[in-house]
Point group: C2
Chain length 363, copies 2
């Protein structure tokens, strides 16, 4: 038998929601012994039924305990596990890091057996039923720099590796500032736009297009979950939101100025729009490639069963890997447009193959 990765033979998962159960499933895939606990007996039963682990209390000290509960309960649960010597190392998975580390240190002095982590994965659904063993495959998983002993850091890294994640080491404050920027403020911005729609006239809503749908998609998220996240990361979020407000003020001023000094107003708006272009261009795409690196092949198809199947079969026969798909939505539209994103070198081949087979390809 080979040595277990990072000496990780046994693990207690505390909190069998989406994240905890997914970690447990990923560990079971690699034959790690997993014990499960949750304050909700139904959730722990369901996770056990899914093959995530054993709901019985562990017989003795384990190698690792993973705290996967709400951000506000995380530090207390971690301190309880550390005090009880339940595992050689305790890690947490909360989405905000500085507060947890601070609270654990306050209770424990130095937190040598504690490592803060944050797997950058999630779904729009929650609970053990939404869990999947591959949730973390290829996803970044932040490991927070701290005064933890080397063995504990090694166990945390082993967990990330066993779950298929990619370990990224960061300072707690840098992490919190980063997620404020790339996750929490975008969530608030989507909510701000969606909130404007709550009172608009009905006929305005009939003019909606895909742009608005994309901008507001995450505004459908669970408010209780997000209050916890925003509360745990209040200062960094407020900081980015305050910078954003400066740009809102400038945009409003520029719009008002257009009547008086069109040149200045347009220059100011242009500066903001160009900055938006630049920021958007920094986003990594699939496999880390920039999103602009794909060629988009738009294909017209009828909205009936089998058309997409036929299209993908034809694309598959051309040996082309489809990197992304977008179906354009229009109320009452009988004919749809499917945009296939592919690597630029194969786009010509795909277009030729589809046209030869009778597809209407645009662009």
């Amino acid at each position: 038998m080979t040595d277990p990765v990072g000496g990780l033979r046994s693990c207690l998962v505390v909190g069998t929601g989406l994240i905890g159960t997914s970690i447990a499933l990923a560990l079971r895939r690699r034959d790690v012994i997993v014990h499960l606990t949750d304050r909700d007996p139904v959730a722990v039963r369901r996770a056990a039924d899914l093959g995530a682990g054993d709901p019985a209390p562990p017989p003795g000290q384990l190698d690792l305990a993973v705290v996967a509960v709400s951000p506000s309960a995380t530090a207390d649960v971690a301190v309880g596990l550390l005090t009880g010597n339940v595992a050689a190392t305790v890690i947490d998975t909360a989405g905000v890091k500085a507060g947890v580390l601070h609270d654990v240190r306050r209770e424990m002095g130095r937190a040598t057996h504690f490592v803060g982590t944050h797997p950058m994965a999630g779904r729009e659904r929650s609970g053990p039923g939404a869990a999947r063993a591959d949730l973390f495959d290829g996803r970044p998983w932040v490991i927070v720099e701290s005064d933890a002993e080397a063995d504990s850091v090694r166990r945390a890294r082993a967990l990330v590796e066993l779950c298929g994640g990619i370990a990224v080491t960061m300072d707690a404050d840098a992490h919190d500032a980063a997620v404020a920027l790339v996750s929490h403020v975008p969530q608030v911005a989507a909510t701000l736009v969606a909130a404007r729609l709550a009172e608009g006239p009905d006929d305005a809503l009939t003019l909606t297009g895909q742009g608005l749908r994309d901008v507001t998609r995450v505004a459908a998220s669970d408010p209780d979950l997000w209050i916890d996240v925003l509360a745990a990361n209040a200062d960094p979020v407020a900081r980015v939101l305050t910078e954003l407000r400066t740009d809102v003020d400038a945009a409003i001023a520029a719009l008002h100025e257009l009547a008086e000094d069109p040149e200045w107003g347009r220059t100011s708006l242009r500066e903001l729009l160009v900055r938006g272009n630049a920021g958007r261009a920094r986003l990594p795409g699939k496999h880390g490639a920039p999103p602009t690196s794909y060629a988009v092949v738009p294909v017209v198809l009828a909205d009936r069963p089998g058309e997409l199947a036929r299209l993908f079969a034809d694309a598959g026969h051309a040996g082309v890997n489809i990197e992304d798909v977008r179906i354009e939505h229009s109320p009452g539209q009988a004919v749809g447009l499917v945009e296939l994103s592919v690597a630029p070198p194969v786009a010509g081949r795909l277009v030729e193959a589809l046209v030869a087979l009778g597809w209407v390809v645009h662009g």
Copy 2:
């Protein structure tokens, strides 16, 4: 031979960009005589080559002239056409309506032969090469209420019908307020979030997920195009943006208040998030159905050619119509998750069929 729709036999399209060329292609599909003109001879040549119409000057007065130039040039071009009696009726297609109508009336007195319109369709690419005859199929097309004579309104409605659009009658101010709400402010909000990313540290960007990609997608749009749109609709956009700023201020205040009065801070954040939920829920989905009406079937698949084809073929054999597709992106991920949106009554059948064929289906 049947009578032409609304007596529309001949049309001049002024401006052979995406919108003008698409209108011309749609009219040619229905055998309307189309003449084309553009200040750029290359663009008009390209549109003619695509079969959009005749680049020669019209031999006499036509039934309709369609102005499809930039918002800032629209009123001048329309006045020129009206003054020259080039067509019995002149319509425009600019995305902002009150200003154009005001400018045309100022020059012409009553604008009895002029009708303002706005087709709610577009693409992220522009120019005649991106045009498609089906661009307007099933899309709302606003016709502005004005003092136009009945024959001119009838011709405008005939154009919408010939292009496959759905005529929606609105007051110019109501239209401009509506597009500020559902299009222009969402564009600015996406830009505001993206602009924050222009200066963030590199490692923050590695933590990016699908949410940020969706929120910022439209921030990649052409600044020059958007400056024109925002300038033409400055007051309504500034109004909605000012309302949005009130919510930004409240969010920042709530985040700061969390340290002093957590209860008040959380209540205030919750109110905003719940309002965002409510606004988002008002968006029409495909075919006008609310977006929540689809069942989502998540399927795991390997990132290699042919997998999507096989999946869609298998779904097609089950006789299920896929309404939407989302492929989850993750940097470096070898295994992807494809989410198929289907009508709830057929979701169970789809899951059964896919599982029977060996697909890993979640949820």
